[in-house]
Symmetry: C2
Subunit: 351 residues, 2 copies
């Protein structure tokens, strides 16, 4: 029996696969990776990885590759997982939810669930569904993409902030210890920056200043952040001034009112200038929109809006952006046949 931590990694795209690689390189974990569309490529040829900190790999394989979530309660021959790391997108408005997705693999009272995902309140459904399991927050600044099945390019280094979410039925001390232990395992490769951060709300709200603003605005306008900044050079009446700044300030106000998180005003300009101009950065929501994929607008825009408005903050810019995202998501559902406008109209006419 191995003394290594047994890790299940769900979501083997760019960030997920580099996460698996880093853990295996550290030597303190053996990783079972769950693949979907890239399963055939990964099992037949292994992963091709071009990583800015781990180097180049061809035919790399984690300890195990599966094509679906293992059912540990049904199959007693499967050893329990110590960690379940989720690096999928988090789209609660389109099934399956994260809870439904990982449920078969969770061992009650044992598996530590690590959500390396954006947005607010993403732990809440997990606390409810798995009250005896620690749920950790992972906020990643890594930039990595799967450019073809099983071929990963990591361009922006792996910086991971790990925090306890707290607020669950479990002792805070136990959650903090679990977070620190996960950091130890993740850091073992010596190649990445992984730190324990006590203040999960600060970490998550700060990232939302970028994500709740640039992501939907780029998606709604079909523009990268460089183009939006160039289009804003002609004066006060510009997309950055009309959209980006007011939305970021609304998120700041919401963070203060809803979570007592102080995001200094200077962060607004920092977040406007966050992307180097020459990379023509396309935030993930823009990439998803272009590929007619669902967008993560509920946890990224919606939860910030709901928390802020519940705390009495007026967020008209974010609210309008949210409404437009909601419509865009419905359009994508329509495209994929999850809603049926013709049928809805027929039923309405009958009624």
């Amino acid at each position: 029996m191995s003394s290594k931590a047994r890790v299940l990694l769900v979501g083997s795209g760019g960030i997920g696969t580099v996460t698996a690689l880093n853990l295996e390189q550290g030597g303190l974990a053996e990783v079972t990776v769950v693949c979907r569309s890239n399963y055939k490529a990964a099992t037949e040829k292994g992963f091709t990885i071009d990583s800015c900190e781990h180097g180049k790999f061809s035919g790399w394989r984690p300890s195990e590759i599966l094509n679906k979530i293992p059912d540990v309660s049904a199959d007693k021959s499967i050893m329990p997982f110590d960690y379940i790391i989720v690096t999928t997108k988090n789209i609660p408005d389109v099934p399956p939810t994260v809870v439904d997705l990982i449920k078969p693999a969770v061992t009650e009272g044992h598996s530590v669930i690590v959500l390396i995902q954006n947005g607010l309140n993403i732990e809440k459904p997990l606390h409810k569904a798995f009250p005896t399991n620690v749920v950790l927050s992972g906020v990643s600044l890594m930039g990595a993409n799967e450019i073809s099945h099983g071929h990963i390019v990591e361009e922006d280094p792996d910086r991971l902030f790990i925090s306890p979410f707290l607020g669950s039925a479990i002792d805070d001390e136990k959650e903090i210890a679990a977070a620190k232990e996960f950091v130890r395992i993740y850091q073992a490769s010596g190649k990445v920056q992984c730190s324990y951060e006590a203040d999960v709300l600060f970490i998550r709200w700060r990232k939302l200043m970028y994500n709740a603003v640039w992501n939907p605005i780029c998606a709604l306008t079909d523009m990268d952040t460089t183009r939006l900044r160039l289009a804003s050079e002609d004066g006060p009446d510009s997309p950055v001034n009309l959209l980006v700044k007011p939305a970021m300030n609304e998120v700041r106000a919401a963070a203060k009112a809803a979570a007592n998180v102080e995001l200094p005003e200077s962060l607004v300009q920092d977040m406007i200038d966050a992307d180097p101009m020459e990379i023509w950065c396309c935030p993930s929501m823009l990439q998803d929109k272009r590929k007619k994929r669902y967008i993560e607008y509920q946890n990224i825009v919606g939860e910030a809006l709901r928390d802020g408005e519940k705390a009495g903050v007026a967020m008209p810019t974010v609210r309008t952006i949210f409404g437009l995202c909601k419509a865009v998501q419905w359009r994508t559902m329509d495209h994929h046949g999850l809603v049926h406008p013709e049928k809805m109209l027929k039923e309405q006419t009958k009624a």
Copy 2:
């Protein structure tokens, strides 16, 4: 010499061509139509028109078809035009402006300019450029499209509101008389509803409740009004409630504060329900966006916003929609090579 009014019609798409047909059918006008992309089709085969009030025409020709604006000052053999009707889109942010477009055809102190176009303040550049010419407002509710070069289908009947814009250097009485005379000529066919409306601001702001709201929201979400209404059936947190209603109420408040125009609250629901569900109405801005054409957001959204904010009205929903439209227009300019982001970035890096 004809006693008929000599009319130049600029913009021979769906609405323009039906407008020309109606004037010729009335017998009080002879119309010179300026064609662009459909010039070849129109001269070779005439227009094919399927009109809900005038019937079907094949090979229909107005009195004259030109492929550019005639230069009446340069060519003295051209008789002055009594009326210059403009049915092009009005996109002041993309050259040429309406002023530059029609300038060669305007006879000072004589030609009456009729703008059958949407939006606010569209007369102002014309009053400045042509201070001795009457400028009339035309607000059309016609639904007509050019489905292929020279082939026009009119589905929604021609209802035209004609008003004097007033506010120019010319006597109000003269402008009012010119408006009434144009109505007489336009009504002569006996087939259309054309009325003189004294209150141009009421007419234009009322139409903006629909146009400044549905048009950009449909364009930004790539959805027709039926889909947006169906997507709003699931509760208060819907696109109609988050976007359409607040934006319409902001336009109402702006109309009151900026122009003393009372738009009753009941108009909000009327404008939400304006389109029959079964026609899956795609407002023109959505059609233009889908064809990668420029959108008329400046006069339709921008002027309402500027007038409203100048009068002290908070319009955060419309403002956000305007900012997104501005970005979308820049993207279209980028697509057509009117802006050069790579070059802009290079120059920025050098500086």
